[in-house]
């Protein structure tokens, strides 16, 4: 049974991580200086605030969509990248950098969202009529295709500067994101999250398998539609502003299940909180690493995430034995 203190603790920790993200960096900015009319005040408003907001939203979206996809596919190894939306949005972003569109307003963001949008339409067509299996196969095909086109663009990229910009962007980071990035991405993420949060009861029903779920009145076509749009909009927008940040969507639902039990509807909101907590903390930590340049968030997450995941797996195996 879930202890009562877990949810308040998770909320407090996430709020704490948000505060930390507002303060931490090469320059520490304490709350008293946030609204000051000087360089620190400017850094706070123009750099820290959007970065913290994006960290919060992207982390929450990654955790939430991971929990939804694992529930829908009834596979604890699913994560937001299985749909191929991340890779497609990344391809869109890379195309923009390749063509130099990233210098015009909305060029990169629009191109990445276009990539996400195309992948949503393709998924809806590829997965039509099929169950979760068609969905996951469609996602894999898309993701492989997008990744190979991305590699192709990198390989024919005319100058090393563009190549390094592409590679940098692909690695995923929240560095130097501005308020205008947050303003573009947050509404799309909010719509996606709202869609995903409606799936809880249907995901619970899938515990008894697809036929069971359909027999008690779950509309599988509608559920698939909601998930494709929900994940597509929110993950597409998150990749468009931050590149591909991995592992959060895979790991967080596992941790949350350990705390809350496995009922899919129960873990949705806590997974969002957990994802935000992890992303905000990791993003604060990368800022504090010594040296002239930051470690990319995507890399830090993988370095932190992979061993932690192995630890979880071995613990689970011991429990099973």
């Amino acid at each position: 049974m879930t202890a009562r203190w877990i949810t308040p603790a998770l909320i407090l920790l996430t709020a704490g991580a948000f505060m930390l993200s507002l303060m931490a960096g090469k320059v520490w900015i304490w709350p008293t200086a946030w609204l000051a009319d000087d360089a620190n005040g400017w850094i706070f408003l123009e750099l820290r605030l959007p970065r913290a907001l994006l960290g919060l939203a992207i982390g929450a979206i990654l955790g939430l969509s991971g929990a939804v996809l694992q529930g829908y596919l009834r596979n604890p190894l699913a994560d937001p990248t299985v749909l191929g939306v991340s890779s497609s949005a990344a391809l869109g972003g890379v195309t923009a950098i390749f063509l130099g569109l990233n210098t015009i307003p909305l060029g990169l963001f629009g191109s990445a969202m276009l990539g996400a949008g195309i992948s949503i339409l393709l998924l809806l067509t590829l997965a039509r009529g099929g169950g979760p299996l068609g969905f996951i196969l469609g996602g894999m095909v898309l993701s492989t295709l997008a990744a190979s086109f991305t590699a192709f663009l990198i390989s024919i990229s005319p100058n090393p500067f563009a190549t390094s910009e592409i590679v940098n962007w692909l690695m995923g980071a929240l560095t130097d994101r501005l308020m205008e990035d947050a303003v573009k991405a947050l509404p799309l993420m909010a719509i996606g999250a709202a869609l995903l949060l409606t799936t809880g009861k249907a995901l619970d029903a899938l515990t008894i398998g697809e036929d069971g779920a359909r027999s008690i009145g779950v509309d599988m076509a509608r559920l698939r539609w909601i998930i494709i749009f929900g994940v597509g909009l929110s993950i597409g927008a998150s990749v468009a502003v931050s590149g591909v940040v991995g592992f959060v969507g895979l790991i967080i639902p596992h941790v949350i299940r350990g705390l809350y039990g496995e009922q899919p509807s129960v873990i949705l909101l806590p997974s969002a909180l957990g994802g935000a907590l992890l992303t905000l903390t990791a993003d604060s930590l990368v800022r504090l690493t010594p040296g002239p340049s930051e470690i990319r968030l995507g890399i830090a997450m993988a370095v932190l995430g992979a061993p932690f995941f192995l630890f979880l797996l071995s613990k689970k195996r011991k429990q099973a034995a």
Binding site: D204, I208, I216
Partner: protein, 258 residues
């Protein structure tokens, strides 16, 4: 109240599964769908449950086409115990049985009615003592009963069960059959796909015998389970008789050489 198939044709892709099937099931009866592997039993049950839409013809509940009923209405009237006893996540027995209330639920929480239906279902299946346990900790027999409790919690007028005895020990098989029998006796319609002929003849009172996607025979037990029909459909030499306690039994002598 009847659940029936009118001229149902169904093909899985290119492979025909059902051809001109006309069958009628009534409430208050324990009906079984029998037939060898690949005869179309599960397909027929899925059509009756509204999970598959026949290519032509229709499944009808009191004259209304099952596949065109609003999904929630259909789910309230027809409960299905699918094949395979799937439980994907380690959720509590209580939460699993509560899924049966899915078509009835309107708000976020469970209503008083929902709670009493869940309690009744747990009691009817003898599972109330482990309501707080996790489904993955249960034995196969316990889990089968919990899954049946999930079906009963929806208070459906019709209970369709696809191979409800699979992987159960004889004692649990008899529990399940007794439970289905009781539901039929209480006036519900029960339709089950079974493989075990011995159990079928003992507990059911109406049979639909399928052979290669068509109805070979249907009606009461003694008129359908005849030695001639069993020889033609299953290729076995068997005989239905009434034992010293007055119970129907099937004696299978062996296979008929082709």
């Amino acid at each position: 109240m009847t659940l029936q198939c009118d001229n149902v044709d169904f093909a899985h892709g290119e492979r025909p599964a059902l051809h001109s099937v006309n069958a009628c099931f009534e409430q208050g009866q324990f009906s079984v769908i029998l037939g060898p592997n690949g005869a179309g039993k599960s397909t027929l049950l899925a059509c009756l449950a509204g999970l598959l839409k026949p290519d032509s013809g229709s499944a009808r509940l009191d004259g209304r086409d099952v596949s065109s009923l609003p999904v929630a209405d259909r789910a309230k009237m027809i409960g299905l115990l699918p094949q395979g006893a799937e439980t994907h996540w380690a959720i509590s027995v209580q939460a699993l049985v509560a899924l049966g209330r899915y078509p009835h639920r309107t708000g976020l929480g469970l209503s008083k009615q929902d709670r009493s239906a869940i309690t009744d279902a747990l009691n009817a299946t003898g599972t109330s003592s482990y309501a707080m346990r996790t489904v993955t900790e249960l034995s196969g027999g316990e889990r089968a009963r919990v899954l049946m409790a999930r079906v009963l919690a929806g208070e459906p007028q019709w209970i369709l069960a696809d191979e409800p005895l699979a992987n159960l020990d004889p004692g649990y098989q008899i529990d399940m059959l007794t439970l289905l029998r009781k539901q039929a006796d209480s006036g519900k319609g029960v339709v089950a796909v079974l493989h075990d002929l011995h159990h079928a003849v003992r507990y059911a009172n109406h049979v639909v015998l399928l052979h290669r996607g068509t109805i070979f025979a249907q009606g009461d037990m003694s008129s359908v389970i005849t030695s001639a029909n069993l020889a033609a459909v299953y290729g076995i030499d068997a005989q239905l008789f009434t034992d010293e306690k007055g119970l129907k039994q099937l004696l299978i002598h062996g296979k008929i050489a082709p």
